[in-house]
Amino acid sequence: MTTITQDRFAEAKAQFQQLFEKDVQQLNGQAEQPLHQLRLQAIQRLPDLNFPTRRDEDFKYTNFNRALNLSYQQGANVMIDSANIDAYRLNDIAPIQLVFINGEWNAALSKMDKLPEGLTITSIAEALQNDAYKAWIEAQYNKETEGNAAFTALNLAFAKDGVFVHVNKGVVIESSIQLLHLAIVDDQAMVISPQLFVQAETSAQVSFIETHDAAKGHQGAYLSNGIARFALDANAHVSHYRIQNDSQEAFKLTNIDIVQERDSVFRGYTIDLGGRIVRNNLGAEQTGVGADTNMFGVYLGKGDQHIDNQSFMDHASAHCTSNELYKGILTDKARGVFNGKVMVRKDAQKINAFQQNSSLVLSKTAIMDTKPQLEIYADDVRCSHGATIGQLDEDSVFYLRSRGLNDAAARALLQHAFILEVLENIDSEDLQDHIEGLIKAKFAE
């Protein structure tokens, strides 16, 4: 006898399949291109994949499937006055700018003429035409992603304007590259599928700043379902900042995977200010000895916001180091989640792993769940982790107020001080100032 289990996500999957077919009809002859074939394979996998539910351990605290209840259209460019983009440009920090409106790459608004020698920035569709890049990109499309397979398949199926970046051996890109994502969504909910694939060759150096904003006055709902993949060759140095200030109605899911060869250094920064339900999966695998991974996170939750950070640090080689520091502040009915997994494999001797998560929970109705998970199979390692959840120190508040600062100013100063420990790890002072400004604005809301 065969048991037929009802797929509770059948309706959602059907919606995305229809949306995909509708999108294909507008392709005009691109259907034969390699990218389209990869997209097609991704959507064909969807029926067999499960969206995560709260019965899955990794989604115990986060019901991301609420994002599946909306009726979506494929995100697409809308007309926008160039002047309205300027507020989001980081001109002094990142002269190279790639602009995406609702996930669609807008070449006219982007600034990428005169790229430095040895830096390639192109669409994934175009990179697939190049034999040097094709195999790696295809491998990214076929990579198994545990737990998030359904959303990853959705990203791979719907992303048309993924970005491919390649930095040649020994090339150092001094200034940062901004990926400016702007959502302009009103009543019609949209699916936005950001993609960033990066290959840094031996001793190459490059820094990315992703900004994710909702345009002023456009606070509609959308599903932003992004992925990023980084491959660092020996001694490559890559920094990746993600400053997320999406609409209060946005469902935001991001899957980032990093693979690091020997002596490479990755620095990831996740700043979450906006969004309705935010889920970040950040996973780094150290395949070469002496690799160094840094994960920094800041989350500020207000109202009904829900911000969930999952990190997976996979120490697969000896003499590697990792450093994770996540700090957040939650108020109103906001909810925060941190789940930091550190795996030390059998042969990964002499590694040094540090992990710390601290949160301030400022109201009775705000909630923080934090869960460090260490799995250690090597015997000569140093792993330390800590998690704290607390409130502002009232003696400090009183002290500041006794010097004339009003209650709100005193508390803002202390909250800022709490977050500063993370922000001090930002390499560029200008960028740190910029982020501090955004955080102050959020406190002042």
Partner: protein
């Protein structure tokens, strides 16, 4: 300037102050002495605006205004300064940024213009010189890792910067070596003026060798049981508090 009438204060239903009367005029320095547990710190804390104390009776007016109705920060902006017995260490808040914010918060309240960066720097340097504090402390987090003496010096710096009308020093001298004690005394003496008053709460007479008070009050069991001039503090130094306790016992007997 400050008028305390029959002030009664409890903490967790235990009465600590049982009717304090004190009148402080502009320019006066009042020392409040007394044995441990007499209510000295309670008085200082109530003046500063700590909320865990419950005022059950009496009144405190500052320049004619009901002081007890003001929040702690409103009191600070109105011109009351409390030097803490144990200044709080606040990691991540730079001393320099903190000083700038407080100076401008108080200036705005007084209808003065905010100081710009250059004016502020000049002003802070001037006061640093006055209290003999090394400018390198400005870059450090507020009181974090400061020695006891450095913390007190920082309190005196803030007092100098905020130019209060009334400064309350709550056992600022406790645990200080003689050098640190001189810092506190010097700052108070330099800031003494005909418009500025001080309430100096102390357990030891030693500080009063350096700061000559106009009045000395002895607080015992929640009341001011004796007032006098500087000579009273010398008497206390010589004879301790037992004779006071005996006198009180005899009267209440």
């Amino acid at each position: 300037m400050l008028n305390i009438k029959d002030l009664q204060v409890s903490i967790e239903d235990k009465q600590i102050l049982k009717g304090i009367n004190l009148d402080i005029k502009p320019g006066e320095v009042h020392a409040i002495m007394g044995p441990n547990g007499s209510g000295k710190s309670t008085l200082a804390n109530v003046l500063a605006g700590r909320e865990e104390y419950e005022v059950t009776g009496g009144s405190v007016t500052f320049e004619g205004e009901d002081l007890l109705e003001l929040e702690v920060d409103e009191r600070a902006r109105a011109g009351i300064f409390l030097a803490f017995q144990y200044p709080v260490e606040i990691p991540g808040v730079s001393t320099s940024n903190f000083l700038k914010s407080t100076v401008n918060a108080v200036r705005l309240e007084r209808g003065q213009e905010e100081l710009n960066a250059a004016q502020m720097l000049k002003y802070i340097r001037e006061k640093l010189d006055m209290v003999g504090m090394d400018p390198k402390f400005l870059k450090r987090s507020l009181n974090e890792g400061f020695s006891g003496g450095e913390k007190k010096r920082n309190e005196m710096l803030q007092m100098a910067l905020l130019e209060p009308k009334l400064a309350v020093l709550d056992e600022t001298d406790s645990g200080l070596d003689i050098d640190a004690l001189r810092i506190v005394a010097d700052a108070v003496n330099k800031l003494r003026s005909e418009n500025r008053s001080f309430v100096i709460v102390t357990h030891y007479q030693r500080l009063l060798n350096y700061i000559v008070p106009d009045y000395v009050h002895v607080l015992y069991n929640g009341r001011i049981v004796k007032s006098g001039d500087k000579s009273l503090s010398l008497q206390l130094e010589e004879k301790g508090y037992d004779w006071i306790k005996e006198e009180v016992a005899a009267i209440e007997g």
